[in-house]
Symmetry: C2
Subunit: 441 residues, 2 copies
């Protein structure tokens, strides 16, 4: 196959126009060539920055994939390790990344969900669950943190940091521990004890901030600009362009696990919206690299009704997203002002997908449905995607005859409260008589 | 390499002597040829039985591996799926097992634990953690339940059952859900709510028994002999010979992940002792099949002080194990009268290993040590193995210059209470001034 060049951004024209203006980057992050503004295309060298100096738009990675031959790349990937580093040639990481101490996330199971398909009325063999609860700290966050860690190494940072209320705290703590970094994670001081323990066990600094999550975030932004924050990599702030790329690996794995084929439909949860946009980016890259056949695919976004600003905008036909005050059990998706909301709307509309939401009761029902049909115990975010899938099928929006992939991005063990109502089906005395009386046979 | 035959039992002479007396088995469980008594070698056809009709000794699987060529087998394994079914030719399962609906456990990470090695004084590159928290329901139980499930299919059972107080309940519930089996799990009625939820979410029957775990077990044995239990496969009772073989896959994976090499030392937790004996069996099989070079290895057993009957017997030089009443936070290992205790003593002595125990405080310390060095959050059972490893090194029993594998068989998210004391390192106001005062920079 022919050698192909893949532009880094959705707006490839802008990226290539601006490419000549960027000075060369001096750090080695593999195929990552520069940072490029998603809005205006302005390019800057690779560094721990996240906003365009020209227009304040978000910066993202621009790659140089020009040397790749499709067949050779596919062979190289297939011979790679059973984790995200098989895709190192497509990520902002050095070529020897697999040998560095990190948690080696990814290559999680793509489960053919025939039982769930039957319940949802999807054609047999056509429904798949991409189960990211199999990651080291049991959420997809391990994918993104692993990229941020490599960027932190490249930039000489010695402390890995973030603000978090859940999955990210554990992912950062664990990755830092393994890599020999100091970690300092900021959380609201009144977080539930269980979540505090999950984050604290890795032994890094865990700082409670007297305030809510917004206060925590504001403080972190202050700290980045202060000498006290020198040498600190905030995975989701000054390392965000690198961090975000980790979500592309979900797209790569899904296609490879389908036999190097694009899914027809894919249902993705929306928090900030970053994951959905990067999955689209990953699919586009595979098409342009010649690793999958170019066919139409539809991307569907899933939100909880109690935090559904993107879904509301989609249904209203708006281009802008009106912030909401979150009130839902799906706390890992509870971002009321999602930064990538407008891009999500773009993608859903461009691909012919949709954005939909379900209420908390439907989330819980969907968690139980997935558990009893496929033996997968999902976090509330997984309840949101499965619930939205069901709703989209019922509404005739999602085609049950096409290959559909539903993402489960986290683990039910982390959100036990959501299904706390689940319990014993019977209580009996330890006797056969009592057992028979219970009517279980 | 030459074609080799591998006897199924540790006492290979007994097995082969008795092999002619067994009528042929009619079910297809791959290379499994018969059941053979571990004590007297008496053979019976494959079936849902677990005790020898002659001497009441435990039955285990006798295989016919006579057709295997080492090089061909190795290639076949390496080309197999990234789960336990790559070893289907060595397990009591049909050849097409990978295509049947199950949870596809196994092929978990073998983590080279250089940070932990440094802390324990082990030579760099020589210490590994086999991390079974990466399994679908986050414990090694998925391995054994997967074997029991195939046996249940073969014998025409329609209900999968067990008695449990923890990991096993979830593993059975999830596997049954995925496979389309009914499940009925029996637990003490007063189990903590969190554990009830983890077992109940898969939607099977979850029956609380008014009594303690012994009462639950006694009831299950009654049920097996009663018409009410017809069509029921109790994974750890009437399917136990099949179930137990799942632990062999830990040995296979460790050797393959080390590059088809035996470890020098391996540290295994002891509950019933079954896992340790099957790991030894798996290592022996690989040697006899010519898949690894025959070199000495030592197997070490790890217990919690509050339930250390095997450790006590080992230290006292006894061949029999005196039952104890368990009192430890390592509840997944809290079997006071371990059925395979004498076999464990045999193996530890034969291989030049040992059995050691650590107290609950040391268990907690070890959980934290593993988390802060390698980013692995282990269940209490993992704290036991890491703690015992540390103790054995300090006592000069375990050689820190040799390749050593430590098992982590479960996930810290399931035993959060053990590290509940872990918490915030500081609480501050959302200001740089308050941050500086806290002395974190």
């Amino acid at each position: 196959m022919a050698v192909q060049t893949v532009a880094s951004t959705t707006d490839s024209a802008a990226a290539s126009t601006a490419s000549d203006s960027a000075p060369p980057s001096t750090v080695d992050l593999g195929p990552a060539a520069a940072l490029s503004c998603r809005e205006c295309g302005h390019r800057v060298p690779l560094g721990p920055v996240f906003a365009c100096e020209e227009c304040f738009g978000p910066l993202e990675i621009a790659y140089d994939f020009s040397a790749y031959d499709a067949e050779e790349l596919r062979r190289r990937i297939e011979a790679g390790p059973a984790n995200i580093w098989r895709y190192a040639p497509l990520l902002p990481v050095p070529a020897d990344v697999a040998g560095k101490p990190n948690l080696n996330p990814g290559w999680t199971k793509l489960v053919q969900a025939d039982n769930l398909a039957r319940e949802l009325g999807v054609e047999a063999g056509k429904l798949f669950v991409k189960d990211d609860s199999g990651n080291p700290t049991h959420s997809f966050k391990d994918r993104v943190v692993a990229q941020a860690l490599e960027a932190a190494r490249a930039f000489g940072f010695t402390t890995l940091s973030c603000s978090s209320t859940g999955n990210l705290a554990g992912a950062v703590g664990a990755a830092a521990a393994r890599a020999g970094f100091r970690s300092c994670v900021f959380i609201p001081h009144d977080l539930e004890q269980g979540k505090v323990v999950m984050a604290a066990v890795y032994g890094g600094e865990l700082v409670g901030i007297e305030g809510n999550y917004d206060d925590v975030n504001r403080f972190c932004s202050e700290l980045i600009g202060d000498p006290a924050g020198e040498g600190w990599g905030f995975v989701n702030v000054n390392l965000r362009p690198y961090y975000a790329e980790g979500s592309k690996t979900l797209a790569y794995e899904i296609c490879e696990q389908l036999g190097w084929r694009l899914p027809d439909q894919i249902v993705v949860p929306i928090a900030s919206g970053s994951q959905l946009t990067k999955i689209d980016k990953g699919l586009q890259e595979l098409v342009r690299l010649g690793l999958v056949e170019d066919r139409p695919y539809k991307i569907f976004g899933a939100q909880a009704e109690g935090c559904s600003p993107v879904s509301a905008a989609f249904k209203a036909g708006h281009d802008v997203v009106r912030p909401q005050k979150p009130d839902t059990i799906a706390k890992s998706l509870a971002i009321g002002n999602p930064a990538d909301g407008p891009y999500v709307l773009d993608i859903a509309r461009r691909t012919g997908g949709a954005v939909e939401d379900v209420n908390d009761e439907q989330v819980v029902d969907a968690i139980k449905l997935l558990a009893r049909t496929e033996g997968i115990f999902a976090e509330t975010a997984g309840g949101v995607t499965v619930g939205v899938t069901r709703k989209l099928i019922e509404n005739g929006v999602l085609d049950p005859s096409l290959t559909t992939v539903v993402l489960n991005t986290g683990d039910g063990l982390k959100t036990l409260d959501a299904v706390a109502g689940t319990g014993l089906t019977a209580t009996i005395r330890p006797s056969l008589e009592s057992f028979r009386e219970a009517g279980l046979v």
